[in-house]
Symmetry: C2
Subunit: 456 residues, 2 copies
């Protein structure tokens, strides 16, 4: 009966049917995600029963097991683990920051070591503090102004950037390079204002890099509120001391895994569409928005297709990448293996901007693929997906670019992301069920369209 | 120097300058709101120092004082109070709901009386429960199936509606009319599944109406999770008893006020643009999203103009309406007075959908005004305002429609609104600072455009 109806419609007007059909399938995807979705339940389980999943930690190993088990239980066509060596940095037990003031006494402030930082040694570091807003100010101070001191990088994220990633991008050089830049002039440590949108009490961690042939000094993040306090205190007392203690250290690399599940394509099984997030998180919090959300949304894309009885033409792969946060080893390994095995990836979509309400997608750089994706806007706009203005994908899928893979990124609303990013506050209670589900459905809708029409 | 540059630009291309100028002003509005905004600080103060503001309560009176003080301190050109009589319903001290089961014993469940409901009397009500999903099922049961029982309305909000107001609109008849519909068939009380998007532990209150000449029976809301529990328990035990106790009652009307502040127009002082929210809230929670957000955003529109040194051509009025939740007396009074005083309102914008991230505006029904508002989309889209598809304004400004006033509504994202709406969870910690500020800036941008270009 169903077949007859479809044949009749095709006979009447192929174009109209084709369009109606896409609308109907996409509506079904969203209906299923919102009424029979499992992304939130999966994220609850991952965040509360596994918790944080920092590369090399027992939590990361548990996350690998969790991902494999979940995808096996969902009976994807194949589920496997892809070995990869990852860095193994450990925070150590105790982190302390104190303003030692002659005027107001000792004030405990909230700090945490940045990922990759060396520790201070058992006796900690006490030194004077010099505040700068940027590298130019640091250069102007020179060795004379910096030698033996703690350099305090205190440039806030620009709040007037509507997309908070713009504010982040404009401030994160302090976190990434601040320590080595300060060490060039003889600083003993770098203290960096947290990358947060608001005044908050908790510090944000995140990756940092040491430049070659420069002394490695501790790189410590201070909460935005305490950065303000320190800055005010310094105005009245330039020679105050600041005490830092951290026992972080970098241990030898350890083995870990990307975890991959796939549904085999019915017509073009050798053409692969990747949908992914990164399984590792920072050690603080639960890695709920960053990036548990992207992981469960990726699994949910495949689960939704199975639940709907939709058989993709191409092979759809959910990839949980390991070690995005402090090395990108999983993303690099995945691309290496894809090249080695001569796999044909036609597209990869990453979700790594939190489980917030959908706004759109970042689009491929290739002109034809970009226009194809943008031509689908009328189908996606009813679901809040209207921003297709930015190009690029995500960090983990980036290494696939050399193989000519079209890269896209799921684009949720950015306003709340840097409230939680890389902090102890990135927990499941900050994730809204419907927002997360809408994101999973958005990704499934995009995969459906790419699977059906391709990008060439 | 500045004047010279502007003159030069005007000479070159008036149209381009005019457009650039709008873009620049709107950017300045958003920059100020995000970097020097006060909406969040005002909302913090209102919610934590005043708290809930239910019509006729001491909290509402304190809210009136708060609004007047804040607008006076901001030195608006005029600030005044508009007297209005409001209903005075009180919840009473104790609200109890219990499943009395022979199989599982007594189970305490989370309930609250709906606004306007009569109480149960001191001894409460114990009765059998009959579950229905809608009025048709109720009619089918008839007096025989309903007499002497508690009718349990248990139709959830449809989760597949992308705009959650659609799900709310499809379920809220149970809350508004359930009690009288059930009483027609001899029910002793109505128990109504809370209007919430998710499974939650807390009940949602809200307005209900008694039909004339029908016995008034208690109307009680039960949390969505406990509605599920009751439904499951009923499947195994149709003759379980349910116990309700509530001491709510409707007292005589009491005096209250709308609170109004304005900046006088420089060119057309007799033409008024209203920007408003409602000052009253339900008695549970703090009325943070509903509608403290709309109040502080409205005040912030005028404050931003003053801070920027922008002098509107028309008079801009911030109106804190009283009694939206259970009577709309403030909105009705405001329109009455406007008509009586022959005031010329050219537009009114309400914010009463929470302090969430901006999505767009609802537009006036008048074709010309609608097209004018939609023509501004390119100016507003960079700030996430892309949805101008729906018509209408808000409840409080609705009574102005008869005077031909163009009505608009600020449209924030709807996904999280019904997590908190009318509950003890509607508190300041559920409001994101940037999201609230972006809403205030969106409203200011719209007022700026209407003030500059009019709607005719």
């Amino acid at each position: 009966m169903k077949t007859l109806v479809i044949t009749f419609l095709l006979f009447v007007n192929t174009t109209t049917f084709s369009q109606t059909s896409d609308e109907a399938v996409i509506k079904q995807i969203f209906d299923f995600a919102l009424s029979k979705g499992q992304s939130y339940e999966m994220l609850w389980d991952l965040t509360t029963n596994v918790g944080s999943r920092f590369s090399g930690s027992p939590g990361a190993a548990a996350g690998v097991e969790w991902s494999r088990n979940v995808m096996e239980q969902l009976a994807f066509d194949s589920v496997w683990m892809q070995p990869v060596m990852v860095p193994h940095w450990v925070r150590g037990e105790k982190e302390t920051g104190r303003i030692l003031s002659k005027r107001v006494g000792t004030v405990q402030v909230n700090v945490c070591a940045l990922g990759g930082s060396v520790g201070t040694g058992k006796s900690g570091i006490s030194a004077n503090v010099v505040e700068v807003k940027n590298l130019d100010e640091l250069k102007a101070l020179g060795t004379k102004g910096v030698q033996g001191k703690i350099v305090f990088f205190n440039r806030p994220m620009d709040p007037t950037k509507i997309n908070t990633f713009g504010g982040y991008g404009g401030a994160v050089d302090q976190r990434a390079n601040g320590a080595s830049e300060a060490a060039k002039y003889g600083a003993v440590a770098a203290l960096i204002r947290s990358m947060g949108s608001n005044l908050e009490d908790y510090p944000h961690t995140g990756g940092m890099r040491y430049a070659p042939n420069i002394a490695k000094i501790p790189a410590i993040s201070i909460s935005t509120r305490h950065a303000e306090l320190l800055s005010k205190t310094l105005k009245d007392e330039k020679d105050l001391l600041f005490y830092i203690e951290s026992h972080s250290e970098l241990l030898p690399d350890v083995p870990s895994f990307n975890v991959i599940g796939e549904i085999k394509g019915s017509e073009f099984p050798d053409e692969i569409i990747v949908v992914g997030g990164h399984l590792d998180s920072w050690d603080l919090g639960q890695g709920a928005h960053d990036d548990g959300a992207g992981c469960v949304q990726s699994i949910e894309v495949l689960r939704l297709f199975k639940t709907m009885g939709y058989k993709p033409k191409r092979t759809i792969r959910a990839v949980m990448f390991m070690n995005e946060e402090n090395g990108l080893r999983g993303g690099i390994k995945y691309a290496e293996q894809a090249e080695k095995k001569k796999e044909k990836h036609i597209a990869a979509i990453e979700s790594d901007r939190g489980g917030f309400v959908p706004r759109g997608f970042t689009v491929p750089t290739d002109e034809k693929a970009k226009e194809r994706v943008r031509s689908w806007k009328p189908l996606l706009e009813p679901y809040g997906l209207s921003d297709f203005s930015q190009e690029g994908g995500g960090a983990d899928i980036g290494p696939l670019a050399n193989q000519g893979v079209a890269l896209l990124g799921f684009l949720p609303d950015s306003q709340r992301y840097f409230n939680y990013h890389h902090t102890a506050e990135d927990t499941i209670d900050k994730v809204d069920k419907r927002e997360l589900e809408l994101g999973a459905a958005s990704m499934a809708a995009m995969v459906y369209l790419i699977d059906k029409y391709g990008l060439k």
